[in-house]
Amino acid sequence: MNSTFNVVTSQEYKYGFVTDIEADSVAPGLSEEVIRFISAKKGEPDWLLDFRLKAYRHWLTMAEPDWAKVAYPKPDFQKIVYYSAPRAKAPKYASMDEVDPELRRTFEKLGVPIHEQAALAGVAVDVVFDSVSVTTTYKEKLKAVGIIFCSFSEAVKEHPDLVKKYLGSVVPYSDNFYAALNSAVFTDGSFVFIPKGVACPMDLSTYFRINNKESGQFERTLIVAEEGASVSYLEGCTAPQFDTNQLHAAVVELVALDHASIKYSTVQNWYAGDKDGVGGIFNFVTKRGLCKGRASHISWTQVETGSAITWKYPSCILLGDDSIGEFYSVALTNHKQQADTGTKMVHIGRNTKSTIVSKGISAGDSSNSYRGLVKVQPKAEGARNFSQCDSMLIGQTCSASTFPYIEVQNRSARVEHEATTSKIGEEQLLYFQQRGIPAEEAISMIINGFCKDVFRELPMEFAVEATKLLSLKLEGSVG
């Protein structure tokens, strides 16, 4: 009878190929020399090198956190390659024609439109391959309305004042172990600046690809929306299939000024390791948004399906009065995957509101935890939070946990937390099958129903992708 549950979960990871490309890499290991090398390689100003070195020195004093409900061999930080870039004729490609054809084919295979005339028209894309940004599309068009969308390295050169002003302003280098590491060694990422009063006319997107077997990916993303500005930003990620673990430790900072709005969506499909838990990405990411201005609005939507280990808590600091923070999440784990993910909503300003909708799906032998903090500070008069955390279990050998932390220091605050756990049980499946619907389609329909409140927050193309991705990831779990 249990055979039904042991089969529906596993389509092979289809992005697991490696691109054979010449790369400029530094030898494995981390030291001040390596950091100076990275900084010099990128031609960075002194203040940025100082930032990195301070972060590194601070990192040396820190211990890797172990409070999350994940178990893994601690990475050996001296075995990681901290800089790896596809070798190019010029430091930055002037046009797509200069991009290595092998690299172009890679992104075609991944379905990432790096040509502006490509399928996903209307979305500007920044493509990051290992340590560097390869290309950014629609730059000129965006520039016309004053929007800056470029690689982080380029922003350091072209817009140093903006970078200096905001870098580390939301996630200080001392924030946590992985944020400190990232601050010391980050290589590239995206920079977005939406000036006062401008609504970004298209979705902006960054596609991250880890290719090098030994390299870690340490990207840094900074998005600033000035007064009254708005932007929707999408992030996608894949990695080849290796039997060793790669480390991904990114930092994302969002800053929203008065009446600004930032919507940040992620579909994470890093390689998850094989069904026995060999290989896969260790995903230790710090994402935080600062609702700095009055009535500002930051919304995180994430669909987490990949990585061997996920440790990620996209958060909102609700500083401005009447600001709004949102977190919509679907985290799916299968086989031996472990995810400990959630959010932090820190209410500082008056009448700040936050919404948390988290949907965890566990299958196989995986472990899936929601960990969330709702904190209402003394001055946050009239703060409101609503949290909904639902877990769904598929089969008998997976686990789901919920760790809500609620700290309220203002009497007028209203905080609501709801949680449910359900199981795709035999009865549910039989019902669908009895109506002629095969088990796999039934699971996909049940899962999509379960995730509906999150999927409707995603931009349309992403929602379609996410739906397909979940079905693929669960193929073989029940049958």
Binding site: M1, Q434, G449, K452
Partner: protein
Amino acid sequence: MLSIKNLTASINGTPVLKGIDLEIKAGEIHAIMGPNGSGKSTLGKVLVGHPSYEVTGGEVTFEGRDLFALEADERARAGLFMGFQHPIEVPGVSNAAFLRLAYNKKAEAEGRDELDPLEFDDFIREKIKLVSMKEEFLDRSLNEGFSGGEKKRNEILQMAVLEPKLAILDELDSGLDIDALRVLGDAVNQLMRPERALLVITHFPRILETIRPQYVHVLSGGRILKSAGPELAVELEERGYDWVLEEAAAGGRR
């Protein structure tokens, strides 16, 4: 249409069906009655492929095919339907989307055209009249927050959409008031055709006043103890089940 020979089945190693024989031909309506816990619902579940039950012996053919060689969804597409006693709730899946997928799976299996959402909308709006269901129930999540009676209406609506050859109706009357029972009973009668058949599983004879069987079987202890015409239902209504059980026990001793 359905031929059951010496069927035995168990759950977690405990035998629950201990040798069932039953023949159902096209155009026939059979009723299986029995006291609570007699195994009558089990028979339906085993036939549609409930994974908790293990078939330990016997043969079942449906339209000439070995039923147990088919997956549960294949049995459904071959024309076997069960109206569940306790239909499950599925949050986030719209009733209309579910009905359309079920319809299209069957259409695909039979080589008919599948219906797009607009075509299906016209189709389903006609069908809901049969069970007097309000249109709003189409847009709601599948069975979520439906009352007992609304769930049963939805079961018969699904039957109307799928037009099965053999429909097994498990305790259709539970949770229904008299008026709703009459509406659904009439709907089932309208769906009956000479080339179709019905197997009505019920504890109470009341529903058999609307859906009139030609054959009534009493199932208890995992066996069919008595089979007769519709008059048996009337007798059970008057006398209860004990006399059948006693008669069978006496027969066993002889």
